[in-house]
């Protein structure tokens, strides 16, 4: 029986009944028409941690790649989110703090329409103790985009969602663009504790 729903226009999704210590829960791959967002819903609380592994590209035209916003449990109140970043753009390292700025979890960096064809950004996002109902939820991400040019970036991100609710849904949308491009793929995994 499917335990997870996938909501996105023109996305091919696969459902899987998990049974191991590191399970693939669901995967979405964007089709030729693009997709405005990717949603993992009805996430089971039977794991200890979640991991999302993704490659992505958006329809943003302006140079500079793109970022994404992941809305947790439909909560788009920026006051409930906080971000710290460590970035390297090939010439300098920098660090930023953005409390109560973005209406979701900030994830970067993704390819954009301004990048050469076939270039995709990537990110690996760990969501720790996501089903706990007594702690705020923290997200750790390592991501980046290399374009064989100065318009590249590698980044560490630490996001906080200030809610004690168990995470049951995640909706990921492009930050500056309006659509994920074809071949973008997000895969959600569950990691069990002993």
């Amino acid at each position: 029986m499917p335990v997870l729903g996938i909501i996105a226009s023109q996305i091919s999704g696969h459902l899987f009944a998990p049974s191991g210590a590191y399970d693939s829960i669901a995967t979405t791959t964007v089709g030729s028409g693009g997709a405005s967002s990717i949603t993992f819903s009805s996430i089971p609380s039977t794991y200890t941690h979640l991991q999302i592994r993704a490659i992505g590209r958006t329809n943003r035209v302006a140079v500079g790649g793109d970022y994404a916003i992941a809305v947790i449990n439909s909560d788009s109140n920026a006051a409930n989110y906080s971000l710290h970043q460590l970035l390297g753009n090939g010439s300098a390292a920098s660090s930023n703090a953005y409390p109560a700025t973005f209406a979701g979890v900030f994830l970067s960096r993704w390819g954009a329409a301004s990048d050469a064809a076939s270039m995709f950004g990537t990110s690996i996002i760990d969501i720790l103790d996501y089903a706990n109902t007594s702690k705020y939820k923290s997200f750790r991400a390592l991501g980046g985009l290399d374009t064989n040019s100065a318009n590249s970036q590698v980044n560490f991100e630490s996001n906080l969602w200030m809610s004690t609710s168990a995470i049951t849904s995640i909706t990921i949308s492009p930050g500056a663009g309006t659509s994920w491009s074809q071949y973008t793929q997000f895969a959600l995994y569950g990691i069990k504790g002993a």
């Binding site: 399970d23 995967t27 970035l87 390292a93 270039m119 390592l142 374009t147 040019s149 590249s152």
Partner: protein, 167 residues
């Protein structure tokens, strides 16, 4: 998909004699991502660890990295590189400690996108770094050569390759 096949150990090499490179070949295209973990030491300082894909020695690699040496963080990059992707992401290569790299080859078996690699490297004696690398090819990755640029991997250095399978 059979249970337990999401995160699979594909191959492991532990060096019995020093070597300048280790190659994983005939990699199955049955997974979504590959994870390569290396740990050990090198015979000389200043060298780095590069990842060569599918035997490609043309200028199809680029990478951007960030690193910290204990005094400051910095970033650098390379374009049109023919050696491969720098997995350590250091300013000056190996120094004196134990080396570790964890390298993610994302969506390695598709035939439509260029391949992106995320690397974490550390030398317990000098630096810590992270790299995003690009191999400008839409070919599926079928071999990975881990290269020591300038010295040898010493006896006991381990190289482990895993496959991660999305549903």
């Amino acid at each position: 998909m059979a249970a337990g096949n999401t995160y699979v150990a594909l191959a492991t090499t532990t060096l019995g004699t020093a070597a300048s490179s280790v190659t994983f070949s005939s990699i199955s295209g049955s997974y979504t991502d590959l994870l390569l973990v290396t740990q050990g030491n090198m015979s000389a300082s200043g060298a780095s660890i590069y990842l060569e894909i599918n035997g490609d020695t043309a200028s199809n690699y680029s990478f951007t990295y960030i690193y910290g040496s204990g005094s400051a963080a910095a970033s650098s990059r390379a374009s049109n590189n023919s050696t491969g992707i720098d997995a350590l992401g250091f300013s000056s290569g190996f120094s004196t400690g134990q080396l570790m790299t964890i390298n993610h080859f994302m969506n390695y078996s598709n035939a439509t996108t260029y391949k992106t690699v995320l690397c974490r490297g550390s030398d317990t004696g000098s630096e810590v770094g992270a790299t995003v690398g690009l191999w400008r090819s839409t070919s599926a990755i079928t071999s990975i050569k881990v290269k020591n640029t300038g010295s040898n991997f010493t006896v006991g250095h381990t190289f482990s390759l895993y496959g991660i399978l999305a549903a």
